[in-house]
């Protein structure tokens, strides 16, 4: 990892690195999410909720490519009888390719854990999907929509779900290098019937995110000439 960081620093400092710097943008975000976890493993719906805090960082290379990472953790308090408080932690690495200025194709490897004092359940997912950002008011606002499938997934102590997907919808506000998002995201996991019981599990996030960008904007046309018919 150190070696890769050194190589990146060298590329930026080298002659010609100016062009790389001109194409590079760095985004850092702080976020807070209201999380709801619901599961029905044959004993009724168990629900817990709470707030997690985290961050997000991304490196953009030119108008087409972005890679990033996100982390977050917090405690979910049991809302139903029979359920336990959970420590929730998550992290992920993703890459996004902007097929069009408003459409990014995403691939992500994510991990999240649900911990109780006696057990830790680890979820590892490989996600693929697309995110659309439709500009409004010359890019001051964007309507966000995301849909992801989780074709690769493993859950410790459980079989692989036979249906796993995620979706998100939200609004983003931008003013120069600063932006803020309010996004509602849903992750749903349906497990195959086992022992006469069909397990369903779901996470929902209402996330507020504040971001600061260094470098030029992405393909989102907030400050790019806009085409259209007069």
């Amino acid at each position: 990892m150190r070696r890769h960081a050194a190589l990146l620093a060298l590329a930026l400092a080298a002659p010609g690195g100016g062009a790389v710097r001109a194409q590079l943008r760095i985004t850092g975000s702080a976020e807070a999410s209201q999380v709801e976890h619901r599961v029905n493993a044959g004993f009724g719906v168990e629900q817990s909720s709470g707030t997690i805090f985290g961050g997000h960082g991304a490196l953009g290379f030119g108008p087409r490519l972005e890679i990033g990472a996100r982390v977050g953790s917090g405690t979910l308090t049991a809302d139903s009888v029979g359920s336990d408080d959970l420590d929730f932690a998550r992290g992920g690495l993703y890459a996004a390719v902007f097929a069009m200025p408003w459409l990014a194709l995403r691939a992500e490897v994510g991990v999240h854990t649900l911990s109780t004092p006696v057990a830790v359940q680890r979820w590892t997912t490989g996600r693929m999907g697309a995110e659309a950002r439709a500009p409004m008011l010359d890019g001051r606002f964007h309507a966000i929509g995301r849909l992801e499938l989780f074709p690769l997934i493993s859950v410790s102590g459980l079989e692989k779900p036979n249906r796993a997907f995620g979706a998100a919808a939200g609004i983003m506000w931008s003013a120069g290098p600063v932006s803020a998002q309010l996004v509602y995201a849903l992750e749903r996991y349906d497990f195959p019937r086992s022992g006469g019981v069909e397990r369903h599990e779901q996470l929902s996030f209402l996330t507020g995110r504040l971001s600061v960008r260094l470098g030029r904007a992405t393909a989102a046309p907030a400050n790019a000439p806009q085409s259209g018919t007069p």
Binding site: Q34, E36, R38, V39, N40, V45, Q47, A134, M136, L137, D138, F141, A143, I144, G145, F165, A167, A168, A169, G170, I171, W173, L182, V183, Y184, L186, R188, D190, E198, H200, E201, Q202, S204, L206, N223, A224, P225, Q226, S227, G228, T229, P230
Partner: protein, 356 residues
Amino acid sequence: MKRIIRWAALLLVLVPLARSLTAQSNTAEMLQRAIRLYEEVEIEQSLVILRQIISPQSPYVVSPEQRVEAYKYLGAALALQAGPAKRDSAITFFRAALERDPFTDLDPRTFSPIQVQVFSTARARTFAVGLKPSATDTLDPRTERLRLRALTSHRGQLRLELRSGGVVRRVIYEGANEGLREIDWDALLADGRLVPPGRYEIVALGASHLITRPDTLRDSTRVFVELRHLHDPLADTLAVLGGADLLPEQHPASAAATDLLKGVAAAGGAILMQTVLSSGELGRSSTGSVVAATGVGVGVIAFFARQRNRTIPVNIAENARRQTAREQRNTAIVAGNAEILRETRLIVLPAAGVGP
């Protein structure tokens, strides 16, 4: 048959042409013989031939130049003969030559002083103006001048005008003159601009200072020239930017509704997730409603904001940049063309008139 007709037509054209050439050739031979006899002091025989040349009964074609030459030698021959009648006749023939060609002159090295003196008398009694442009056909107006040779047969006022379409564009010379005057014209108009390409008339106007009664004797002549500019090709300036070259500076009227729809779509997505995509087994979450309400609110704000102001500032700035770039490019092209035009050379060609 066709070939015979073609040969016959060719003969019909060639035979009169051959006759004309023979006639002119005969006049030239006669003139040469008369001059040779004059030089051998066979004056009477020379006079006979010269009179034959100028006679209306002459069977041969006589060119204007040949006629002037004949008049000149008639005057010269008669000037050598004694008696006032001969002298008067000599003056008459000299005047006839001068009237036809004001540039007619007697070389003092070839003709005797008495002949030159009689010729001067003829000049004093004849007022004629002559004008010839120089043989120069291409000149650089920055360093060269178009030389015009103007002449008054005796002392008088001379005025040289450049005219185009009947309008005087430049008075090239005006002043007193006697005899031949070489005038250099800088190829400029009265306003200092280089004369534009076209057909022009150069007019010489003269008024005698010697013959003023009963009226001042006047004469004029003119030559036609075609002037052309010679320079490297000029670059075209960029055309005015049209609709295809500029970005729209206003959103379409439908943009407000589109923005509203985008906000509603985000809201609909949140509701869809909350109701359809979420598992029915697990109950409904209500947090998506916050995003749905925000989406609708932002959509409505965008709708009214867009209706109030449809301009696209980014495009307006980009269009201004393109216009400025075009103006700068055109300024450079105009400057380049001016540089090319500064090196314009002028081609001077004889013309048959001011019109095509």
